[in-house]
Symmetry: C2
Subunit: 287 residues, 2 copies
DNA sequence: TCTTGGCTTCCGTTCAGTGGAAGGCCCCGG
DNA sequence: CCGGGGCCTTCCACTGAACGGAAGCCAAGA
C-alpha cells in the first residue's frame, strides 16, 4: 500500500486524474481546498493543476469559486462506446418498450464488479428507482446485474462470488451457493428475475443483449464450427422494473427478448459501417 | 501561433488532454499511431501517456488495439452540471412535451459561440434531425441557438455577429443587420422561430429557460430593486423541431413557455438544497 | 482589532517526463 | 524467400517542467 500510494499519484497525469476523481455524485462542486484535500494533493499543486484543467475546460469554475466538471469533459465522455454506440443503438427499442409498458426501462453494462447504468427511461408514472444513468449498483442485487453476471466470464463470476456481498434488502441472495445456482438458472432460462432484492416493493426482469462476433468479419458465416470459444460475455443487459404487486412480470420476457435481439443485431450491423455524418464539431481551442 | 503552439502542449497535463481531444465523433476509436499523429505528439510520448490514461480507465483499449474513450471518463462527464442538474431537472418536462407533440424536443446551452445540445428526445415519428446530444451547431441557425443568443451578454452577441457566419441553407440569416434585428425581435417576443435556416424542411420554435438569481440566497426577496444588473443570460433554451408544412408552429409557444418556466423554477429550488441520496458509487481504485 | 480559512503567487530544487533510437511483429508485394 | 513499411513496445541518458513550502492577500467572523 505504501508502495502503491507511492506509485499512484507520482505522475503528473495521475495527479491530474486524481483531481477529476475527487468529484462524485455527492460532491459535484468543490472549492479549491476541498479539491486538494480530497485528491490528497498540496494546495499549491492542486491550484496549478486545477487551473490547467480549467483552461482546457475539463473543469469549470463557477462564480462561487467552486470547481465543477466542465462541459468539455462531458462532451468527451459522450464519445465513449457505451454512449455513442450502445446507447445510441438501444434507445429506440427502449422507447418502444417504455411506450408499451410505461415502466422503468434500464440498459446496463458490467464494469468490473458493478452494474453500470447506461440509460434509463422512466416517466412520472413509473416506480421511483435508485438507479441513475452513470451510476453503479451491485451485480447480484439487480435484474440487469444478474443477467450480466450470469453471462460473464467464469473467472469474473468466481471473483465476484468470492467476495463479501452487500445486502440491500432481506431478499438479496448473498450466499455463494444459492447465488451461483440462481445464476445458472438465469443463464439457462435466458432471463433474470429479481424480487425486491435491491429495493423493497420492486421487481425486475432483465435479459442479456448478446455480444456479436467480436471481429468485424464474422458476418453471415456459420459461427466458427459447432465447437469453440466459450460464448462471449453479453454486451449489455436490458431490464424493466415494476412494482412487486404487478401481475406476472414474466409476461415481460418475450418483448424484452425481442428488443434485446434487435439491439444485438443492430450493434453488429453498425460495427461494420464506417462513420456517420460528421458536422460542425468541437471547434474552439482552449486558452 | 508559434508562441501558442509552444505554450499549449508543453505541460504534461496539456499533452494528456491533447490525447483526449484527439477523439471526436468522426474518430471515436484510434490506433496509437493515429492518436500520436492527431495529438501531434511523438509516438513514444503518446504511448506512455495513453498507457497511463488507460490504467486510469480514462481511455480503454479494445481487442483490436484501438483506443476509445473509457467508461470512467463517461461517468465523470455525467457529473457536469449540464447533465447532472440541467438535464436532470428538465427531462420530465421535456417528456411531457414529447408525449403531447411526438416531435423532436431539444434542450441546449450556449457554449462559447456554439449551441451545445444537452438533451434531445425524439421518436420514430419525429423529423430526423442533425442535432446530437453533446453535439454543436451554430447559434444563429437553430431555434434554441437564436433563443440563447438573443438573451446572451451584449459583448457575446457583438463578438458573434462580428464573425463570418456559416450558411447551412439559403434561408439562414447571416447579414449582421438582419440577424441583429431578428435577435431583438426574439428577445422582445420571448421566443425564437426558425424556418429552414438549418435544415430544409424543418422549422423550429424555442424559448429561453431563465437563469435564476445566481446566488443561493436571492430567494423570495424582491429582485434587487427595479433597477439593476442586466437580465442574466438564460440558463438554457428549450425547443421543438417540426416539419415545415405543419400548421402554425407558433401554437407550440405557450406549452414551451410553461415548461421553461417550470424548469427555471425547479432549477432555482434545487440550487439550494444539499445533495441527493448517495449510493454505492465509484468504488474501484485504478491500477 | 485579531484570527481563521481560503486563495494566489513566487521561486530554487530536483526528479519525473522526454523522445530518439533500436528491436519485434505482421502483412504485403516482388 | 526476402525486403520494406506499417505498427507497437521498450530502453535510457539528459534536462527543463513540475513541485510545494512559504509568504502574502483578502474576506468573514469573533
Amino acid at each position: 500500500m505504501a508502495a502503491d500510494a507511492e506509485r499512484e499519484g507520482r505522475s503528473v497525469t495521475g495527479r491530474a486524474l486524481r483531481l477529476l476523481a475527487a468529484f462524485d455524485v455527492a460532491h459535484p462542486a468543490l472549492t479549491l481546498s476541498e479539491l486538494a484535500r480530497r485528491a490528497e494533493l498540496p494546495l499549491a499543486t492542486a491550484h496549478r493543476l486545477a487551473g490547467e484543467l480549467e483552461s482546457w475546460r475539463a473543469l469549470e469554475r463557477g462564480s462561487d469559486g467552486r470547481f465543477r466538471v466542465g462541459n468539455r469533459l462531458w462532451e468527451m465522455g459522450l464519445l465513449a462506446p457505451v454512449s455513442s454506440r450502445l446507447r445510441q443503438v438501444a434507445l429506440p427499442y427502449m422507447q418502444d418498450l417504455y411506450e408499451a409498458t410505461r415502466e422503468n426501462i434500464h440498459l446496463a453494462v458490467r464494469d468490473g464488479f458493478d452494474t453500470l447504468y447506461v440509460e434509463k427511461l422512466c416517466g412520472h408514472r413509473s416506480v421511483p428507482i435508485v438507479s441513475r444513468v452513470g451510476g453503479r449498483l451491485p451485480l447480484h442485487a439487480t435484474g440487469v446485474g444478474k443477467a450480466l453476471l450470469a453471462g460473464a466470464d467464469p473467472a469474473v463470476r468466481e471473483g465476484y462470488l468470492g467476495r463479501t456481498l452487500p445486502r440491500p434488502t432481506g431478499f438479496t441472495l448473498v450466499e455463494r451457493g444459492r447465488l451461483d445456482r440462481e445464476l445458472r438458472a438465469v443463464a439457462r432460462r435466458g432471463y433474470a428475475l429479481t424480487r425486491e432484492e435491491m429495493t423493497l416493493g420492486s421487481v425486475s426482469v432483465a435479459v442479456p443483449v448478446a455480444q456479436v462476433g467480436s471481429g468485424p468479419d464474422t458476418q453471415g458465416a456459420a459461427r466458427r464450427d459447432g465447437t469453440g470459444d466459450p460464448p462471449p460475455e453479453p454486451a449489455a443487459a436490458l431490464g424493466i422494473v415494476v412494482r412487486s404487486h404487478r401481475a406476472d412480470p414474466a409476461r415481460l420476457v418475450p418483448p424484452l427478448k425481442t428488443a434485446a435481439q434487435a439491439i444485438a443485431r443492430r450493434l453488429e450491423e453498425t460495427a461494420r459501417d464506417p462513420a456517420p455524418g460528421l458536422e460542425h464539431e468541437l471547434p474552439p481551442l482552449p486558452r
